[in-house]
Each structure stands twice: as structure tokens, then as C-alpha cells.
Symmetry: C2
Subunit: 149 residues, 2 copies
Amino acid sequence: MKNKHQKFMEEAYKEAQISLQQGGIPIGAILVRDDEIIGRGHNKRIQHGSSILHAEMDCLENAGRLRGADYKKCTIYTTLSPCNMCSGAIILYQIPQIVIGENENFKGPEQYIKDNGVELINLNLPTCKEILKNFIENNPELWNEDIGI
Amino acid sequence: MKNKHQKFMEEAYKEAQISLQQGGIPIGAILVRDDEIIGRGHNKRIQHGSSILHAEMDCLENAGRLRGADYKKCTIYTTLSPCNMCSGAIILYQIPQIVIGENENFKGPEQYIKDNGVELINLNLPTCKEILKNFIENNPELWNEDIGI
């Protein structure tokens, strides 16, 4: 039987699949407050020509303007370990918990996240690894652009 | 006679003024590559109902998709010390130099920025301090929202 984190991660994974279907980078994220999804998003580098709409950023943007007190009740689910930009956004808003799908294709500043009081849980899911690994193998230049290389 | 950094900071300050005229939070930023401005932006929390468009993020977004090699030739000018989100974006793209207008109204993770190899120069300008100080005094709740409090 799947636990809560696995069920919510499936929703983040659906966002990654949507992005892939659109020709985009398959990374997805959702924002959950009190067990309710209040924001969803996926990487939009290709779809919107965006340098800042990583999945987590798109998800936070789509959740709209929230009060600090609201963010402190949230968990953010993302199919991939968040980069410095997305980690910074999570720290800015003091979101207390991140659940990630994997950190093999890319590993962000996880120690810095933890040092800033954020709990990080890695579900280490083969589905999240495979969808991105295949994309990176077929689109290495796009991937490097997305992580600033 | 003004030096290069002061002249470019005036352009970032113009962006802060534009935001203020629009009823927004008066923080501005520009991205400069090889002494040419390639991106401009200002805080758009109020104007766009955005939780991620701080001045630096808006500036990076408006500069469009760049190669990693391009970011490495850039300096980002911002009227205020960048928060964790904006600092993280600068670190992600390995922008080697940040010039800030001030860090009295707010101070981001400057040591973390430096630890990641980014040079940080603080021009400590009264103009940048005053425009934001006045805004914060008149709009404390909006300001707290913008910095996640």
C-alpha cells in the first residue's frame, strides 16, 4: 500500500509526463498544504523559453501569492533534487519539508537545505530516474543549459 | 566621475523606480555581459501577482535562454542584497559577479554566495536604501510577504 508521500509524488510525476509530452524537460513538482494540492508545475524552459521556470519555481508561481504562515504548513514534492535556485526559493519561503523523487540524475545543495532547517526526504524512485535519464541521454545540450553548464 | 559599476547601478535603480510608479516593490536589477545590458527587470509581486518575480529573477527571465558560457561573462546589478532564491539562481548559472546597491533593508546569504565563488561588491548607495526604506515603512505586510515572513 502506498503511503502519502508516494501518492503525492505520483502527482509531481504526472507533471513531468505532461512536460515531456509538450517536448519539454520532464521534471514536475506540486505544493501541498494540509494534505491538499495548492500548486502544480513543470519545467517550462522549452515551452516558455524560460530560464527560471524550473518545476519547483513554476509550481510556486502557480500557487500564487501566499502568506509566510501558509508556506510554513507546506510540503513541496519534486521529481528531482532541487538546484540552487529552487532550493533557495524553498528556503526563502521557509517551506519545512521537501520530498524528492531522486538525486542520481542531478543533486542540488541538499546539505545547505538541511542546514537551513528544511527536512529532505528522498523516495529514490526508478520511475523518476528513468524519465529524466532518457531525456538527458537524448538532449544533453538542453540539459546542460538547464543546469547552467 | 562615476565608475562603471555606479553607472550600471543607475539602470537597476531606474527599474526600481519603474516598479514604484506601477505600485510595486521598488527593487530593480540588470544583467550585463561584456559591458552591454542584456536583461532588465524589477520586482513584480504586485504587478503580476507573482511569488517568484523578484527583480533578479525577472531580469534573468527577460534576458532569455542563455548558454552557460554566456552567464560566465556576466555581472548582475541589483539595488538590494539578493535573497536565497535570487542568490541561488545566480549560483546555478555561475554568474561570477554581483554588484548590489545596499544590504541594510535586507541582507541575503552573502557568505554562501562568496563560498560559491561569486564576487560580491556592495556600493552602499543612499538612493537604493531610501526608495526601499520608504516603501517598507508604508507597506510592512507586503514587504514581509516578499521575504517569506
